[in-house]
Symmetry: C2
Subunit: 258 residues, 2 copies
Amino acid sequence: MASGVSIFDQEQKYNYTEPAILCDPAAFAQVVESRRSVRVYNGDPIPEEVVRECLRLALLAPNSSNLQTWEFYWVRDPKKKAALVEACLNQPAAKTAAELLVAVSRHDLWRQRNNQMLGLFSPEKIAKRKSAYQYHNVVIPMAYEQGILEWRGWIKRLAMWARGLSKPTPRSPKSNSDMRVIGHKSVALACENLMLAFRANGYDTCPMEGFDGVRVRRILNLPSSAEITMVVSAGKRAENGVYGKRLRFDSAQFIKEV
Amino acid sequence: MASGVSIFDQEQKYNYTEPAILCDPAAFAQVVESRRSVRVYNGDPIPEEVVRECLRLALLAPNSSNLQTWEFYWVRDPKKKAALVEACLNQPAAKTAAELLVAVSRHDLWRQRNNQMLGLFSPEKIAKRKSAYQYHNVVIPMAYEQGILEWRGWIKRLAMWARGLSKPTPRSPKSNSDMRVIGHKSVALACENLMLAFRANGYDTCPMEGFDGVRVRRILNLPSSAEITMVVSAGKRAENGVYGKRLRFDSAQFIKEV
């Protein structure tokens, strides 16, 4: 996602053009409308190439500063899968699923990914795209590093508050909690792509937050700094696999025109 | 999203059926592939009904326990819009946008929304869907309430740790930070729907995290407990509105088959 200060220079001058292609809005609406959280699957397998295609589309989601601090674990080993089902509290949406995918936020790896991005800048590219380089080289480390006991965050709060008195000033991330939010947010954007992609390809999904995070982490051999955003199960819905009509409160409660 | 303990009973017996309709995977992939973060728009307006349709599709995203703790502010008032552009640090993606939408997490309203949900249960429905009622009546308040200084969260940590020694146990949310993550995660799922919907309808978007949260909150008259997930700008891309080819690291870095 776009963020930062004074990095909005004339990137336009690079004359890259990517025309807006025409899409089919009705076909898209159909995907979104027919996606339901499926609680019971019918046992049909999902072809490997469909899972791969859905994961490919997941990774095309926008994400914070394009640092791609996400990971998707496709749990295929039968033993690990059985353990994961148990860690998902044995709920039918996990137990009956053809595939289980674990979406993980790796905001703990922001520095590594940012360095990886910086590594793509040749001296030539640095000269040509100064502001993008500056953004990754200076702005991101300044913004993302919170320091031990968040000491940098506290100084940032104070400095941004003072600066904010006179002019618009970005204030986040200013805590480890903010860093978590940024990480999970990006993973969630990708998860929505993933779930819609399964639906578009004739399959269904259920996003699960009800799981034993300690056990899931152990199954995947994840460090404690990695955080599980959600477990997504996938398969073909059983006949009564959707438990009821979609329930949404009146949209006037949520959409405010101001 | 599905979550919780012992609430996975035989909801299937209600015999609701919603068949999986056939979708067009190529049409869907086209939407995802052609969505780029657009930094400069060409000034064309977006028909009102397109914005409404995209917002409608946004609200069909899955979300935590279906509490729908989200709000979307469509900023139309010229004065407010100008102030919002400034709060977005005057970046071209905001300045040149036809429309600006602010996605807000209202995880602070979880209790109110949960009560609203409980209000939909007639005595008859309670008898018929005991576990769903139980989930909203008992499980959610127990899980979501953190208490002053998170005292309940700390007790929960201890209790869940002890329980987790012998059986799979959900451990989150156990802090205000976890509540924030849950809230923003759901809003992000909706934001991805929103952005893809604009693309499907021939328009483009840019998700922005670089803004002055204090000023945006003031413009929208939001309480400090409401948190801005992102500002989404929309419009038709200018010829050089996309700054470069999509950049993604090798997917083998992110997709792990285990």
